[in-house]
Symmetry: C2
Subunit: 478 residues, 2 copies
């Protein structure tokens, strides 16, 4: 038990130091290891298994909505990156430049893709000629590079994994419809699979993507009251099409520019899972993306029959869920802590007394609730319990967010909330960028989004007190 | 029909110009598009769908054999690449160098990974301490970059997709066992899934991987008689472990170096699929990795009931195979050519007369054989036919290879074969590298492998006529 205690003590408490709590989990749950390359992380098997489950589920949703996967080069020639003015201004300061191939200098520098709009546009220009070629609904899974100075595992790293969807449409209406459709795919994925409630809305002019006509976002709230942008969907209008010359011959025999979108979700979302569901015992994973959903811990495993029964149960359960057994010679208490740290949703304990009673003990990670379940009912009971946990995690996260969502009508109120009980702040906004800058400078908060679900908090802008245009979610953000 | 004819004529015949035939297929079957980045290809939806099926099947086999996926950074600091002498000598001349991040020059150059041995070693050094930490059985799916001057889609490109397995073991025996196990995984994958027969063997000293103690390979034979290295598995012994200091405390309380392996298969294998199975009508895909296994072509689709029946069949078949329907207003003849070009294994035709007879017509891509099948039997018949096609493709490829596998006892014989009927040449080898160099210089052939299944063609080396050590498969290669 000394070992167990030591293990638990090794995690910094969330309230004591949230940033340290986060890095403790990331390291001790074996999600990530630092690499010798500054700002680049190694995603370890347990972390990567979570990403694989995210990929599988998202990819299914992309394909169901008619999208196809492709693979573009990882390099972008400097001249290609420069074709769309706003876009290059947004990204050029943070790209990695390849200048030599083997021992020879290149005639033109290549950047390692920070995002692939320019590559997709260059390709669309070649493959789109007629209205018959539209829409193009492409997606790509890859890694991208952004030369960040301050990095944190998953949240901000020089290289990260993501998917980027890039589509081309005949009309502005279709492009807008796609932009919102994919935002909704992200939102329902977050809510249904990751058990993370999100606010859907539009970014302000100041916060939108470099080169976009409009950017839409889903924003989620972390345990420390900071917001995390969890997925974005951009409508480019025909801006890129004009810059790259992507035209099609329409039915009316007129040459027209296509309308484009792009949308992305990255390994950053794993940071959200940690910071929305985790607690002082470690990671808490929603069953739908838990690499191990049920961990079997034999109790008094030296007693004859216990291990055999545990193996038998594992065999049975492997047909209905992702199950593992820990038959190592470590103490059960150590094992309990270990799998709590790793966020396994459900622990199944089985010992000599349980076998006598033809039962097992199920312990929920979310609240340590114990259930005694007959061995004959496991196939029906365990999926039910996993579903309950999934729902409970969502509800818990929603309650947390609601309890940390406030309103403010002036900057003093806003600042007080941010300093005392940080969270989302709903407040009115006049639409003038100077107010966003003032809020950012004074208290480090940004406009997270103009939510689709508008409320009227007051008539006046929270900052300048002039007439308000809309309600905005504000917050400090990752 | 004019359209159809034009379509078919657009492919260069294999015998006329094999290289042109290859690029015609790659482009016209929409597998790949050239990009604006020299030597980098765009993998289009149809090509990528094949890769996804390959990934899925290989990944399943890796996991079944106990491997876990991870993700390493794409950058390698120059000093890290240089740690293993042979390795850096092999790769440094062909890597891309990142020298700037944003607007600032880096203090140390980073190369874009050409392969990740050095990164895995650097990581293993940190995470391996005890015999309890072994074995480490990791794999990674990613893209790598090698600065090639002459490139061809799939076969040789500056950037390509692959998987690279990297494992660490307690003993030399375990490492050797793993090396051979993974070679066998590749071999059975090629034979069972891609319907490509392979020769398993060891690379000669001259041909082995930079830094390896021994390299094993599977070699396949293309339609033009050239060999293609289709997958490799390397035993590193403890060479990398010594260079990187990867030691573990063994049960006997001694510090020991680990023994390592690596193994990889890449998008290159798609080139093999094309060149082993393709014909003058285009691509031919084995059912197991065909994105579309059955294409439904309605005949006289303007006749009432035909399209309804076709949709109904599609609905039914989608439960048992990957099926698509082409209900466009193009002529059936055009459609026949189109899906032959794209290598769809089975065409299902259904027209008014078929409906009357309660039958459909199945046409096999491999030989245009027609089968008339009752509509009531499709669920049992189609999987059977797809299996038959898979087997027939393998047998056809095996016959092709056998008919182009020759023996030679001296260089004149060897050269005559290579010039007149290129293929594999089984010939004896003394083991002296100078003979390999002479053969390479004189006729451009290399030692493909020392096959596990040895035969005695003669007593003397095909080149120097001194005593032979073993039989080698020789050939010109991609």
């Amino acid at each position: 038990m000394a070992q167990e205690k030591k293990f638990v003590e090794a995690i910094t408490s969330m309230d004591e130091d949230f940033a340290k709590w986060y890095t403790d989990i990331v390291k001790k749950a074996d999600l990530v290891e630092y690499s010798g390359v500054k700002g680049c992380m190694i995603i370890r098997p347990y972390g990567y298994a979570i990403w694989e489950l995210i990929q599988k589920e998202l990819d299914r949703r992309f394909k169901e909505t008619g999208h196809e996967n492709v693979y573009m080069p990882m390099f972008i020639p400097e001249s290609l990156l420069q074709k769309e003015k706003d876009h290059v201004e947004g990204f050029a300061p943070e790209v990695a430049w390849v200048t030599h191939g083997g021992s020879e200098p290149l005639t033109e520098r290549l950047c390692v893709r920070p995002t692939s709009e320019t590559l997709f546009c260059d390709h669309y220009k070649d493959i789109i000629q007629s209205y018959r070629d539209l829409p193009k609904l492409y997606n790509q899974w890859c890694s991208v590079v952004r030369w960040e100075k301050t990095t944190r595992p998953f949240l901000r790293s020089v290289e990260f994994l993501w998917q980027e969807g890039h589509t081309a449409h005949a009309t502005a209406e279709e492009a807008q419809e796609e932009t919102i459709k994919m935002l909704n795919v992200y939102a329902s994925f977050c809510e249904e699979v990751l058990a993370i409630p999100v606010i859907k809305g539009q970014k302000t002019e100041r916060e939108k993507f470099a080169g976009a006509k409009a950017t839409y976002t889903i924003e989620s709230l972390m345990h420390d009251g900071k917001a995390l942008q969890s997925g974005t969907s951009h409508n480019f209008g025909d801006g890129f099409a004009r810059a790259f010359g992507i035209q099609y011959l329409d039915k009316d025999n007129q040459l027209k520019y296509v309308h484009q979108t792009s949308w992305g979700m990255s390994t950053r979302i794993i940071g959200a899972i940690i910071m929305v569901h985790g607690d002082d015992s470690g990671l808490v994973l929603p069953p739908k993306i838990a690499p191990t959903q049920v961990i079997i811990v034999p109790v008094q495993q030296q007693v004859e029959g216990v291990l055999d029964k545990a193996y038998e149960l594992k065999e049975r359960l492997s047909k209905i869920c992702r199950v593992k057994i820990d038959d190592s010679d470590k103490m059960p208490g150590w094992k309990f802590s270990e799998y709590e740290m790793r966020g396994v949703p459900l622990r199944l304990e089985v010992g000599p007394k349980d076998i006598q009673k033809n039962q097992v003990v199920l312990v929920k990670r979310i609240n340590r609730e114990k259930l005694f379940v007959s061995m004959d009912e496991l196939e029906t009971k365990i999926p039910e319990v996993l579903d309950d946990i999934q729902t409970a995690l969502y509800n818990k996260a929603l309650e947390m967010r609601n309890s940390r969502t406030f309103t403010a009508v002036n900057l003093d109120e806003m600042e007080k909330i941010l300093n005392e009980t940080p969270g989302f702040i709903k407040a009115m906004y006049c639409g003038n960028e100077e107010c966003e800058i003032e809020i950012k400078d004074r208290m480090g908060a940004t406009a997270r989004c103009i939510p689709f679900e508008q409320e009227k908090i007051s008539d006046k802008c929270v900052c300048c007190q002039k007439e308000a245009k809309y309600m905005v979610y504000w917050g400090r953000a990752y």
